[in-house]
Amino acid sequence: MSLGAYVAVSAALFAIGIVTIVTRRNILYVLMGIEMVLNAANINFVAFGRHYGGLPGGGGGLEGKMFAIFTIILAAAEAAVALAIVLNVFQAFNSVKPSEADQLRE
C-alpha cells in the first residue's frame, strides 16, 4: 500500500479522536480520545519512517520507530496520572463530567 493509505487511516483516527474528546461529556471518553490521537500520531511516525527511512541519512526507518516507542511511553505515563486525577475528581465533585470540575480548592 502507498504511504497515502496509511496517512489516510491515521487522519481518520485523529479526527475521530478529536470528536471523542470534544463531544462526549465524560472524562473517561476524553482519555480514550487522547489515546486515539496518540495512536494516529504513531501510525504516521512509523509509516513515514518506513517509506522515507531508506533515503541517505534516513537511518533505515529506525527514527520513526523510536519516536513511536517514546510516544507509547508518554501515553503510559499519561494514562496512569490521568486515572489518578479522574479518581480524585470523582471523589471531590461526585461527577465524571469535565464541565462540573470547576474549582481547585475544596
Binding site: M1, L31, G54, A77, A80
Partner: protein
C-alpha cells in the same frame, strides 16, 4: 453489567439506530476490503482489514453509550494499530502496542470505568454526528492542502518488503543504549515514568483525614 433500568432504554440505545450504525460500519468494511484487494492484492486486503479494525473501532467507541462498550471498541482500535505496525514491518512496535495499550492502558481505563458510576444516556446523537461532520470536513480539507504540496501518492522511496535489512528489535535495543543515538531520551523516559507513577500513587492514595473520618 449495568441493569437496563439504571438508564433510559437499553444500553445500546435505540436498537434500530444501533442496527443502522453497525450495518453502515459493515458496509464500510466491505468497501475497504474490496478496494484494498483490487489495488494491492493480498496485502491490500490485510491493510483493509486493519484499517477497518482501527477506524471502525474508533467510530464504535465514539458511538456507543456505555463506557464499557466504548473501552472494548477501543481495544479493536489498538489491535488494528498493532496490525498496521506489522504491515509496516515494525514487529517489535506491534508487540509493545499490544502489551502496553491493550494490557496496560485499556486495563487502567476499565479500572476507571469500574470506579466511577455508569453514565448512560449522555450521548447526544446530533452532537456526535455534527462533530464528526465538522472535524471530518476540516481534516479532509487540511489533507487536501497538504497532499497538494507533498507527494504521498507518488513513488514511495521504499515499499514494504523491499528493504535489504529491516529494523529489528535488536536495532531498537542498540538505539536505546548507544551513546550516539537515544540514550539521553531513554534515561529521561525512565525518569519520567518513575515520577509519573510515584506521583499518581501519591495523588490517588487515601488521605490521612479519610482514615481519621472512618475511625470516628
Amino acid at each position: 453489567m449495568v441493569p437496563a433500568s439504571s438508564g433510559p432504554g437499553p444500553i445500546g440505545g435505540d436498537p434500530n439506530l444501533q442496527r443502522l450504525f453497525y450495518g453502515a460500519l459493515a458496509l464500510l468494511g466491505l468497501v475497504a476490503l474490496v478496494a484494498g484487494g483490487l489495488r494491492a492484492g493480498a496485502p491490500g486486503v490485510a491493510f483493509g482489514l486493519m484499517a477497518l479494525l482501527t477506524v471502525g473501532g474508533a467510530l464504535a467507541c465514539v458511538w456507543e453509550r456505555s463506557v464499557v462498550r466504548s473501552a472494548f471498541a477501543l481495544m479493536a482500535t489498538f489491535m488494528g494499530t498493532a496490525g498496521i505496525f506489522v504491515l509496516l514491518e515494525a514487529d517489535f512496535l506491534a508487540m509493545a502496542q499490544v502489551l502496553i495499550y491493550v494490557g496496560g492502558i485499556l486495563a487502567l481505563l476499565l479500572f476507571g470505568v469500574m470506579l466511577t458510576p455508569p453514565d448512560l444516556g449522555e450521548r447526544k446523537l446530533t452532537r456526535v454526528l455534527g462533530g464528526l461532520a465538522v472535524v471530518g470536513a476540516a481534516t479532509i480539507w487540511i489533507g487536501m492542502q497538504v497532499a497538494g504540496s507533498a507527494n504521498f501518492s507518488g513513488q514511495p522511496v521504499l515499499t514494504p518488503g523491499e528493504t535489504a535489512d529491516p529494523v529489528t528489535a535488536k536495532d531498537i535495543g542498540v538505539g536505546f543504549l548507544a551513546y550516539d543515538q537515544y540514550v539521553i531520551p531513554f534515561e529521561l523516559a525512565a525518569v519520567l515514568l518513575t515520577v509519573a507513577l510515584v506521583a499518581s500513587v501519591y495523588i490517588a492514595r487515601r488521605k490521612r483525614s479519610d482514615y481519621a473520618e472512618e475511625r470516628r
